[in-house]
Amino acid sequence: MRHDFLDRYSRQDSPLHRVSAEAKLACAFGIVALTVAVPVTAVPYFAGLACALVAVTLVARIPFGYLGRRLLWMEPFVLGVGVLTLLQPEGWKVFLGIVVKSTLSLVTMVLLANTTPFAEILRVLRRVRVPGLLVTTLALMYRYLFVLVDEGERMHRARAARTFDQRRWHGWTTLATVVGQLFVRSTERAERIYAAMLARGWK
C-alpha cells in the first residue's frame, strides 16, 4: 500500500535534498513567520515568495500535481476559517489575505516535508531543545499514521466486500462504524505499543 502520501519525495536526491536539515528547517520557519507578519498589502512580497517556491519545487523535482493534491487536502480547513471573515464589511480583503498567507505557508511546509526526511526534522527539533515529550509524540504520530491508514483501508475494504446495499446513506453509516472501530483498535494498539516500550526498559 502507499505509505508515502505525506513525504513521497523526501528521500530522492537533488541539490535541495542535500542541504542540511537545520538550514531548511530554519528557512521554512522563517518564511512562515515572515508571511504571517507582513501586512496583507505587501503584494510584491507574496509574488516574490510564490516565485521562489515555484523555483524550489522545480529544483527539488517535486511534481506540481502532487503539490496541488496535498494542498487540496488542507485548503478546506483554510477556507472553513476564511469564510467567517466574509460576514464583516470589506471582509473579502481579510479573506484574500488569509487564503494567500495560509496557502504560501502550507506550500512551504509541504516542500520542507518533501525535501527533508522526517527523522532528520525530528533530530533538528531535538537539537534545538524542543521538549522531548513533544518530539516523541510527533515521532509516534508519524510512525503510526501509516499503520492507522492501512488498518482503516483494510476495514473499509472488508466492509465493502460485504456491502450489497449501494444507497448513499448506507455508505455513511458504514463509514461511521469503521471510524468508531478504528478508534477502539487504536487505543488497544496504543496499549500494546506502551507494553513494547516498557519491555525494552522505557521509564
Binding site: A139, Y142, I193, A196, A199, R200, G201
Partner: protein, 240 residues
C-alpha cells in the same frame, strides 16, 4: 542447572473479570528451549507479558522470578520479549533509533546497534523507516532491537506468524545462532518439534501438560483435546 524462570501459583484476571491464568506452576532452566503451545485465547500472550513484568498492572506479588529476581528493572533487563505484531514493537521513525531504544535506556554503547543489525542480516538498513519494510524485515528488526539489550532469556510470541517460507527459514537460522534461554509461544508445531526439547501446553489459562516435546507432541488425544495436532514433521518417518 540454574533456574532462569520460576513461576509459582500465578493467576491473573483481566480488568473485566475474565480469568486468564489459573494457578500456573513451572520453571525453566538456563539454556533450555521451551515451546509454549495451546489454542487461541489460551492465555499464552498474557503469560509472556507476566515474564517481563508488564502484567500484572500492580507489580510485586512475586509469582514470577527471573534468575531469582522479582524487581521490574532486573526482569526487564534479563528477559527480551519479541511481540507478535512487529508494528507494535517498532515505534521509532527509523530502524537505527528503534534498535537503539533499549540500549540507550540500559546505557549500552551505540556500536551494539550496528552489531545487532548485522547479526540479523540487515546492516545498511539503519536509516530506513519501519513502514517501508516487508513483514519479514520488520520481524528481524524487532529481533535486533531485543538482541541489542543483551537479554539472558528470549521470549518469543508467535515469531513465525505471517512470514513466507523463506522468511520463516531465515528466522529459524537466526534463532538457532542465538545463545540464550528461549521460550517460544506459537501455533507453528513443526517449529516446536524442531527447536524445543520441552513443551508446555496451556488451555483456558491452565497448564494441561509439561513434558518432553517428543512425548507431548506425539500424544494425539492430548493434542486434539486442546485444539492442536501432531506436527507434520512427526507424522512421517521419512526425511523430507
Amino acid at each position: 542447572m540454574t533456574t532462569a524462570i520460576e513461576v509459582r501459583n500465578l493467576s491473573y484476571r483481566y480488568p473485566d473479570g475474565r480469568e486468564a491464568l489459573r494457578g500456573l506452576n513451572f520453571s525453566i532452566g538456563e539454556d533450555e528451549c521451551v515451546g509454549l503451545i495451546g489454542p487461541n485465547g489460551a492465555g499464552k500472550s498474557t503469560l509472556l507479558l507476566h515474564l517481563n513484568g508488564i502484567l500484572p498492572e500492580v507489580p510485586g506479588d512475586g509469582a514470577v522470578r527471573v534468575f531469582g529476581q522479582t524487581d521490574l528493572a532486573g526482569m526487564r533487563r534479563d528477559v527480551g520479549l519479541l511481540f507478535q505484531d512487529p508494528d507494535d514493537q517498532l515505534f521509532c521513525p527509523t530502524v537505527f533509533e528503534d534498535v537503539a531504544f533499549g540500549p540507550q535506556q540500559l546505557g549500552l554503547p551505540e556500536t551494539i546497534v550496528t552489531e545487532a543489525l548485522t547479526r540479523v542480516g540487515l546492516s545498511g538498513f539503519e536509516k530506513r523507516s519501519p513502514h517501508h519494510l516487508s513483514h519479514g524485515e520488520k520481524r528481524r528488526v524487532c529481533l535486533a532491537g531485543v538482541l541489542a539489550c543483551q537479554p539472558r532469556i528470549l521470549v518469543l510470541d508467535e515469531p513465525t506468524s505471517g512470514l513466507d517460507p523463506r522468511g520463516r527459514r531465515e528466522f529459524k537460522t537466526l534463532l538457532r545462532q542465538i545463545r540464550a534461554t528461549k521460550l517460544i509461544a506459537t501455533h507453528d508445531l513443526d517449529l516446536v518439534a524442531e527447536f524445543c526439547s520441552r513443551v508446555l501446553v496451556l488451555d483456558r489459562g491452565e497448564m494441561v501438560a509439561d513434558g518432553l516435546s517428543g512425548e507431548v507432541l506425539n500424544d494425539m488425544p492430548l493434542m486434539l483435546a486442546h485444539g492442536l495436532e501432531r506436527p507434520h514433521t512427526l507424522q512421517h518417518r521419512h526425511p523430507h
